[in-house]
């Protein structure tokens, strides 16, 4: 029979744990709110950029009319020999299956492309740690985004590969505060490699986040650009229903709105769509050439922002379940403690009664 004192001690410890998980949940909820706002703030820019690109596509030929060759290297489709995969995970754990799910999706993608050379850029400590145990690091590493500050580009010629699958870059600790400059530095690097034909296509795997209940894990193709304004989603996986329900409960109890970050109707989204003949200060071709790389940056930026929001949402959900579990545990422990106490009292009475009877 467990003794009452021991059980009481356990209860106290579980209460302490519950206090911590509850606090973590509230912190995540606050961070989620901020991350959602940032994702929302990034939306007008992305919209405008897409709109200008779309209207430019309508006005200029992006393919050479004679040869059929695309006029911009980022549109060039090549046979996939070397693939670049950007894996966006979180820097921290305690977020339920968030990191594991992304890694799983990445592994599935790698399997589906087995036999091809794959370069990996790992964003986030958790993904990096996992991938680093499995795959060798490439000899030439892309400069880290943490100290990107005007980093001088190294003229890396495609050297020997460390393996069919290799890690070419690790970016840890940038997710606390994602800045556009970081996304655009990564994009610049990727574009450079693409134009040098070191890589033939670029995918990014991340947790897309529209709202707490509309999330999915996707593998999105970033390069070559197939259709402007359309996501080229290659693989996706919705959040399981049960998980969604729990996320919803957690969001309600933490007071986070479930407003969709994707449907904000901003006047900015009408940029460049007015039905008038614009005067173009530059030749549309020149505009187009400058715009496409930014489009890639914006996409990478978006995936980072959404991943951060999703991470906080996942942590909030996980911590909410942990808090609930702790409450259940306290209840059952309290019951056990009361039973033990009652049993002890009963035993003592029996002892007294039988002692009296013996006399």
């Amino acid at each position: 029979m467990p003794n009452v004192l021991d059980i009481r001690r356990r209860i106290r410890s579980v209460i302490n744990t519950r206090q911590i998980t509850k606090a973590m949940k509230m912190v995540s909820a606050a961070k989620l709110r901020r991350a959602q706002e940032r994702a929302l703030a990034a939306r007008p820019y992305a919209h405008m950029l897409t709109n200008v690109l779309k209207s430019l596509v309508a006005r200029t030929d992006i393919f050479d009319p004679e040869t059929g060759e695309p006029k911009h290297p980022l549109l060039a489709q090549r046979e996939e020999k070397t693939i670049l995969l950007i894996v966006v995970t979180g820097d921290k754990g305690l977020a339920g299956a968030f990191n594991a799910n992304i890694i799983k999706a990445a592994m599935r993608f790698l399997e589906s492309k087995s036999g091809k050379n794959i370069d990996i850029e790992a964003v986030g400590r958790k993904g990096r740690d996992f991938l680093r145990r499995r795959y060798p690091a490439a000899k030439v590493q892309t400069p880290g985004l943490e100290e990107l500050e005007e980093s001088v580009e190294t003229e890396s010629k495609a050297t020997e590969r460390a393996g069919t699958i290799q890690i070419t870059g690790e970016h840890v600790g940038i997710l606390g505060k994602v800045e556009f400059a970081q996304a655009s530095a990564l994009a610049r690097n990727v574009i450079q490699r693409y134009c040098r034909q070191e890589i033939d296509s670029v995918y990014v795997v991340f947790n897309e986040f529209k709202s707490v209940i509309a999330q999915r894990l996707i593998v999105e193709q970033i390069l070559p650009i197939e259709q402007i304004g359309e996501q080229a989603v290659r693989l996706y996986e919705e959040l399981p229903e049960e998980e969604k329900k729990r996320a919803k409960e957690a969001a309600i109890s933490a007071g986070v709105g479930m407003r969709d970050t994707g449907t904000a109707r901003e006047p900015a989204s009408q940029f460049g769509t007015a039905q008038v003949d614009y005067i173009y200060e530059q030749a549309p071709e020149d505009l187009f050439r400058d715009l496409l790389p930014r489009y890639v940056s914006v996409q990478i930026f978006r995936s980072l922002l959404e991943s951060v929001a999703a991470e906080h949402a996942a942590r909030m959900t996980a911590m909410d379940s942990a808090t609930n579990n702790a409450t259940d545990m306290i209840d059952s422990l309290t019951l056990a403690m009361n039973r033990a106490r009652q049993a002890k009292i009963t035993k003592e009475i029996i002892e007294i009664v039988s002692g009296a009877a013996a006399m």
Partner: protein
């Protein structure tokens, strides 16, 4: 009341300006252009420079690096990669960036990407200028 138009300036990180302005000067790729209400529709690329606009007869300045502007008769929308108000500019950092860029240009090292160094130099100089004028 003077004629006004809607002025919006967004960066990937936030909406910086959303106001009614009387006039705006935009650093276009082919030189600065001033826009008043009723301008013909126009799309231009921005280069590194300074945006000045007038609202309620007061001048406002912003340092921008690369972007786009769409001009409509009653509305100007600017999409900038970075846009900072004078108070937000980190003068120390800009000064260091300028120094670094100058060193790189002066080094004569063939590995230096001259274009990028020049870009960095221009960005730093425009920041310093905008910050300096505000004082």
């Amino acid at each position: 009341m003077a004629e006004v138009f809607q002025l919006e300036l967004v960066t990937p990180e936030k909406k910086v300006v959303d106001t009614r302005a009387e006039e705006v000067q935009i650093p276009g790729k082919n030189g600065y252009l001033g826009v008043m209400p009723g301008h013909a529709p126009l799309i231009t690329e921005l280069s590194v420079g300074e945006i000045t606009y007038r609202e309620n007869s007061t001048q406002q300045r912003l340092a921008v690096a690369w972007g786009f502007a769409e001009v409509l008769p009653d509305k100007v929308t600017i999409l900038a990669e970075t846009a900072e108000r004078p108070s937000e500019i980190d003068v120390e950092r800009a000064r260091k960036a300028k120094q670094r860029a100058e060193e790189r240009l002066a080094s004569g090292d063939p590995n230096v990407d001259v274009e990028r160094a020049l870009d960095a130099l221009r960005r730093a100089e425009s920041r310093l200028e905008v910050a300096g004028k505000a004082k």
